[in-house]
Amino acid sequence: MTDKVTMAQAINMALHDAMEKDKTVLVLGEDVGDAEGGGVVGISGGLSQKFGTDRVKSTPITEQAIMGAAIGAAMIGFKPVAEIMLMNFTTVASDMIVNHAAKLRFMSGGQTSVPIVVRTMTGAGMANGGQHSDYLEAWFAHTAGLKVVLPSNPADAYGLMLSAIDDPDPVIFIECLPALFTPAEGPERGVKVPIGKANVVREGRDVSVIAYGRLIGSLAALSDKLKEDGIEVEVIDLRTVAPLDLDTIYASVAKTGAAIVVHEAVKKFGPGAEISSAIHEKLFDKLRAPVKRFGAAYAAVPFSQPLESASLPQLDDIEASIRALAKEKA
């Protein structure tokens, strides 16, 4: 057992450990230096004091310049971790991320590569409104060349960050802002969690629930609750949206014959559509019902709290859906 830490602390630990171990690891972004608070919520706290302001650079609010600096340094042997504070701000840097970081390896025929990590926070539930809360992972997963990671707990966040920093390709590392400050079991120092490998957090034979990010905690609790009613829900934490661990998904759904995909990104054209389609293509004859998808409403994230809550996938709806699928099996 390790001490309980928050996801924010775990990511901070990963950055400390990576920078300590490897001099090529750099951190840059708005407010990341200790003089500026060590990041807007403190995730890069202590880094500039320990590793100096050459390796930990606070930048102006210029997302294109931040990403360009990270890309260029990465091309000549560095491993920059660039913070784009909130995920909606990646839109301002999207030329650098989508046209350059993602594609330079391919367009150069493998002569150059861009081993960067883009750290970015997001998530509804904090009354931040329509431009500070979006989950845009589908856009990046749709762009060939990027990896997209979205941890659900502190230990995974630590291990996935270590993997992301050492990954030879660009990784978009998405942190669920409302879940960053909840203590949970901490990581084992120095141990990586592989990118592209899902984690079966609850085993079950009746229904597969595929999700990622902070939803995993409530889905695991739901699985425990339904078990008391004799319903076994297998909960899969994808950990990585791209590349997608289809093997784990297929193995689970082949066993249960029923799947539900849940994410906080907008349902329409979301990752759930890709996952659902892949399951139908591969396991159509094993399914006893169509794959069910849950995601955010097709709207900007609303400010008013009742609207904001209503725009997110509802646990009651997911539970009802699981019960219905389990009943069909019985």
Binding site: T62, G68, G72, Q111, P243
Partner: protein, 324 residues
């Protein structure tokens, strides 16, 4: 203008000769249908990268743009690999996967060619930042056009480069047009060079058709960068004789504008300058002939080379091959 000596003068001439002949041959071959590609001819702009590259080492970097074959060749990208890339062949610089707008050849310092206006600059900063962290004296040149001076990435990049005192040189080839729009219609200020003052760095507007002026200004900028004193902005005034994209009808130009600009064409002008007691016709002709033969061979190499295996679609997406 101080005479940089005969070796440098001939080095610049040699690069200009390669760039000009290469452009002429490419247009000829595209017109014949043997190469199919969008081509942004640099004809008229050869003096700029030729004079600048005469100051650079192979370990220095450039980031350039879609109108950039001349920048890559001047920096040392091998002409045969360039041709093979333009022909989409497996032997090309990028295995045929990048094409004319994405020429990359790190061995000669050609790190990025971008098809996005303004995007050479943020990445050039990163290369310069990395060089500075490594503690070496490498310089990075970001090439771009006048149109790029209006885009946000230009301003973000100049600001960061100056703040971080990066060893980078921003080289704007101002050819008077952004796509089909005259610079004066698109830009509120009179010059691009004056924007340097906003970012507390030196800015120079120079005759981009005069290799000696370019060489002298770039020399100051390179020395400043190598000494750790920070970036420089150079606005080199020039002209593109073949329009925006090859095949362009040039309907947006004033009648007679192109002909009027012929007198500033850097090629005959520089040749005449050298023949005025600095080099003999035989010396210059021998340089031209050497490049003609290299281009002949490059063209043949390219057209004789195989196309890439279709499995290449799955390679270089990630470090490992993608399995669908």
């Amino acid at each position: 203008m101080a005479d940089p000596g005969k070796d440098v003068l001939l080095d610049i001439y040699s690069k200009m000769s390669l760039l000009k002949q290469n452009d002429e041959r490419l247009r000829q071959v595209i017109r014949s249908g043997r190469l199919v590609m969008p081509y942004y001819s640099p004809r008229g702009q050869e003096a700029i990268p030729s004079a600048i590259s005469a100051l650079l080492k192979p370990t220095d970097f450039i980031c350039t743009i879609y109108r950039g074959t001349h920048d890559s060749l001047a920096k040392g990208c091998p002409v045969d690999l360039l041709w093979a890339e333009l022909a989409g062949r497996a032997t090309g610089t990028c295995k045929g996967k990048g094409g004319p707008m994405h020429i990359t050849h790190p061995d000669s310092g050609v790190m990025v060619t971008t098809g996005i206006v303004g995007s050479s600059m943020p990445i050039a900063n990163g290369l310069a930042w990395g060089s500075k962290l490594k503690g070496n004296d490498a310089v990075t040149v970001a090439y771009f056009g006048d149109g790029a001076a209006n885009i946000g990435a230009f301003h973000e990049s100049l600001n960061l480069a100056s703040l971080w005192k990066l060893p980078v040189i921003f080289v704007c080839s101002n050819n008077g047009y952004g796509e089909h729009t005259k610079t004066g219609v698109a830009m509120a200020s009179d010059t691009i060079a004056e924007k340097a003052a906003t970012y507390a760095m030196p800015g120079f507007r120079i005759d981009g058709n005069d290799p000696l002026a370019i060489y002298a200004t770039a020399k100051t900028a390179v020395e400043r960068a190598r000494a750790g004193e920070g970036p420089t902005l150079i606005e080199a005034m020039t002209f593109r004789f073949e329009g925006h994209v090859f095949g362009d009808a040039d309907a947006y130009m004033d009648p007679g504008e192109k002909d009027a600009r012929r007198k500033d064409d850097p090629w005959p002008r520089y040749r005449a300058y050298l023949l005025d007691g600095r080099a003999t016709e035989a010396e210059l002709d021998a340089i031209d002939e050497k490049h003609k033969q290299a281009i002949d061979a490059a063209m043949q190499f390219a057209l004789d080379s195989p196309f890439p295996d279709v499995a290449e679609v799955r390679r270089d997406v990630y470090e490992y091959e993608v399995v669908e």
